[in-house]
Subunit: 325 residues, 2 copies
DNA sequence: CTGTTAGCGCGTTCAT
DNA sequence: ATGAACGCGCTAACAG
């Protein structure tokens, strides 16, 4: 592997000059610049990222921590994060935390090791003692004690929209089915919005809201419908929960959307260009990724940033509600 | 940020000793080891990955290149790759190539920059001039001119199994619908296996096999069924193609699986634990990832490796074939 | 057993 | 405009 010294020798200049043409720093006479460039080409010179990183204390790499990439929501998010980072000349290190505190901490340590410049994280474990304000960290949907940049979508509105839609489509009694983490998350506002709007509209409703991890979730769902046989419109906390509900109702021989309508939340698609799998309140995943990337880079660059970014959500019609004509 | 020198100073030893306790290399007296460890703890010392990498010429990071992470097959694969790498103390850099030659090359360059030690790639562009035998590279499903380690599954058998299953389920005339890249790929053997088995069993069949990118794919599928109205069993080159077929048949008011049965290939699931979306020939994604990781690490370590690994496939019943009782 | 020292490849003064 | 020299933090070789 050719090094800077080799290039300098071949071009009969000092290493300093090579460095200058490489980084366009300082002035270099056109003729010598050409000599150097020729030498670089001839030796097939590629600068060593480690030496540079050691010197500059910068890696141009950020880590993305998510529970698992094997999930359409996270994989869409990761897709856009990588894409945006790439446009800013950054690389992305991916970590499936599997919701394990240990692995999340390991990655947080990596920023201290100088392996990454910052972290974007969707996390569900106890990180309060490690996330400090001088750690370049952007969270999605989550708050910490220390003020940290948080990108989220309008979860409260999501709940309200779902109620509005279900009522408009003729539902008489609503249900909310979801789970929540024991750590503070923006997504709990989905339920709040649901209750708020149902209250305003004076619609009766029932709720099942378990704490993760819920064992035998499907049985809980079944029990919910047995206890509330008149519920004909459900807002599910996520699209996957909507899918679970769909399976349970199928077992119970209750038709969707004829007898029960369901609206999920997230707006997952299996790949770009495919349809939603259920009627849903869609989060603007692309925008969330874009914001997260811009914010983490600003934090790394030491620029001031807003610590909370809330993005709009939107109802998208799918196969689990009655079409409105 | 505390450095090794600081630790050495605080512990009143030389930096060599600190390095030794850090890496468990060479012998260190128990009492001094403790002194050093205490100092490390007190200063909250974290070794700098760059300095170490510069010295060792090793990053413990590999790059995974895939067309897009926003796809259940690739995201499952990436999930397992990261998991296996993690067990070997490696990190994973993720690259969505979007099937762009440029971006793939950029990552290949990174191994020369010493940003990564090796690459696992699912690629579809012209890389022959860059993939040389001394580049630590493991491909999935693909061959290059230069001998490179290739992990794949038994695609030929996949085609044969599909035919067997369709016939067993009562199909009289078969169809194969797929696409292929213009670069040599193991997956073209799915069609070969299909034709081989249909030939042996003397079953009539029709084929549509377009070259990527196929424009208006659904219209092609529709044309296929209009030209071959008696096809009652289809082997789709991928699960997503099976899904497209499903949509087309739905538009044509033809019932699946009653009138037409479909078997896909890949075995994608939206997340761990969920069901297949169609009847399918499933690839052992977890094993493929495990093999790919083991092989790339062996290559990096300079160990000899088999250059081709073929893993078994398996039929999995789903909603697009008639249940066999 | 342990301290000292020489680079790893690069960016950056500081003279020239 | 450009070359020489220093140091980033670490490992390994050597001397004691």
């Amino acid at each position: 592997m050719a090094t800077m010294k080799d290039v300098a020798a071949l071009a009969r200049v000092g290493v300093g000059t090579v460095s200058r043409v490489l980084n366009d720093s300082g002035a270099v006479k056109e003729s010598t610049r050409r000599k150097v460039e020729a030498a670089m080409k001839e030796l097939n010179y590629i600068p060593n990222a480690y030496a540079r990183g050691l010197k500059m204390n910068k890696t141009n790499t950020i880590a993305l921590i998510i529970p698992t990439i094997w999930h359409p929501f996270f994989s869409e998010f990761a897709y856009y994060v990588e894409r945006n980072l790439s446009e800013h000349k950054y690389k992305m290190l991916l970590c499936n935390s599997d919701v394990s505190n240990e692995k999340e901490l390991e990655y947080i340590q990596m920023v201290q090791e100088n392996k990454v410049d910052g972290i974007i994280g969707i996390t569900y474990s106890d990180l309060d003692n490690f996330v400090s304000s001088h750690l370049p960290f952007v969270t999605i949907d989550r708050h910490f004690k220390e003020e940290t940049v948080c990108v989220t979508s309008d979860n409260f509105l999501a709940g309200r929209l779902a109620v509005e839609q279900l009522i408009e489509k003729g539902c008489k009694k609503l249900g909310y089915i979801g789970t929540h983490s024991r750590f503070p998350s923006e997504t709990t506002k989905r339920r709040d919005g649901f209750e708020d709007q149902a209250g305003r509209m004076e619609i009766p409703y029932a709720i099942f809201d378990g704490e993760d991890p819920v064992v035998a979730f499907k049985q809980e769902i079944r029990a919910f419908f047995e206890a509330n046989p008149d519920v004909d419109g459900v807002f599910a906390h996520t699209d996957f929960i909507a899918l679970d509900i769909l399976e349970v109702l199928d077992e119970m021989k209750r038709k969707v959307p004829e007898e029960v309508q369901i609206i999920g939340c997230d707006g997952i698609k299996m790949e770009a260009g495919r349809r939603q799998i259920v009627s849903t309140i869609r989060q603007p995943v692309d925008l969330m990724a874009k914001e997260a990337v811009e914010k983490i880079i600003q934090v790394i660059d030491g620029e001031p940033v807003k610590t909370k970014i809330v993005l709009p959500v939107q109802y998208v019609e799918g196969p689990t509600t009655k079409n409105s004509f």
